[in-house]
Symmetry: C2
Subunit: 244 residues, 2 copies
């Protein structure tokens, strides 16, 4: 499994992803699920992926190849005129990769499905974030629906719903994501450290702060331990039940 | 969907279940998912159910029928010599009902699966709680694994893991279940009020306190509103992230 979140704040975007992939619980590995393409002053594109690793790696590699060997037959996310067009290109690539894997040949029981969060900005356009489905279609984050989660989203959702605020600072949003990831890591073995964190500041058109968070990260330990205590304190602060 | 929890405390058992059933989001109904058989001084048996409604209702009806018209061919949960034998009877009934529904005849795309939490005590034995699978086999709650959840278990699990304590009072355990159910209700439309609550006091061999919790229940409102505030306070109490 996987857990990735993209948060849309008024001041920018915050991305966080885990790095665990597994084929059964006895075969786990670490792979980066956050990929960024940047041409400072022109565009910043970040892609988070969940799902079948062969699919997500092929999608990323194909997008990458096309930026290197531009040709008429392969539209390139580094040349696309808008984030909307970038989303269409990613969607078309996902569709193509899944179609190739499932079209005849050896029939596997594995599913080749994959889902992506795409965020960023292209010069001349506004900052946008999309959720791209395995079918290649997509939806955009809005004020009513300002964050996307992919992978194991249930454990970490309640705190996002309750504490998210579009006016949050990047630091506050990071704290929120740490808590959301900690709840998920504690409940699902197939989501694992290290985590990747990245900020995008609106209209900066370049890569913002980024960090890889290891299990030994002191702030991660503080949040993980502190959140257990804080939850228990919160629970104790509620009024007690009385039998009627 | 459904959400049901059975908590094993040192002083007894606490059960809570929702009442929503749905066939698609446009067809929802209210059905009781908590069933109790009691012969004071001899036994108390409580069964919580999740899964296909036709399966769970048939299982409950068959168990019920057998208690009324005892015959040699139909062993009876009210006569079984131990909770372990009660669990075997329930398991065998589940297996029989699912086998009948899937064995030939019209092939539906619906799944007939169902899962149960069974708890209680039979005179001469100890208080026990089991999780019964659709295959009819089961596991028992232990000190290491003192509660069972069936149905939509993910949203409500983190707080159970963090705040459960085997020494808890029934009142404290009820507060914990209210919070766990509130997180689930807020996130999954297919889990709905009213809720059913029941206590079993160890060695009492009779039905304990019970209550149906409606949406207008003042304590439920207090917990639901209070938990949002308490979570935000807990979140704000954590140290802030600093870029390095």
């Amino acid at each position: 499994m996987t857990y990735c979140v993209g948060l849309r704040l008024n001041r920018g975007l915050v991305f966080m992803s885990d790095t665990r992939t597994n084929a059964g619980v006895d075969n786990i590995s670490t792979f980066r699920k956050m990929h960024t393409w940047c041409k400072p002053g022109d565009r910043l594109i970040t892609l988070l992926s969940a799902g079948n690793l062969a699919t997500t790696q092929t999608v990323v590699s194909m997008l990458e190849e096309h930026t290197k060997a531009a040709s008429e037959r392969h539209p390139d996310i580094m040349e696309a005129p808008s984030m909307f067009e970038v989303a269409r290109l990613v969607g078309a690539t996902v569709r193509e990769v899944i179609k190739t894997a499932t079209d005849g040949g050896y029939q596997s029981e594995a599913t080749f499905s994959a889902t992506f969060i795409l965020g960023g900005q292209v010069a001349g356009g506004s900052m946008r974030m999309f959720l791209i489905y395995p079918e290649g279609n997509f939806i955009e984050a809005t004020e009513d629906n300002p964050f996307f989660q992919i992978g194991e989203h249930k454990y970490g959702k309640p705190i996002l719903v309750r504490a998210y605020d579009p006016e949050m600072s990047f630091e506050m949003a990071t704290k929120l994501l740490y808590v959301s990831f900690d709840s998920t890591l504690k409940s699902n073995l197939s989501v694992g450290l290290p985590l990747d964190l990245q900020f995008y500041e609106r209209d900066s058109l370049t890569k913002g702060y980024e960090k890889r968070i290891q299990a030994t990260d002191p702030y991660y330990r503080k949040i993980s331990d502190g959140w257990s205590d804080a939850l228990r304190t919160a629970f104790n602060s509620l009024p007690d039940f009385e039998r009627d």
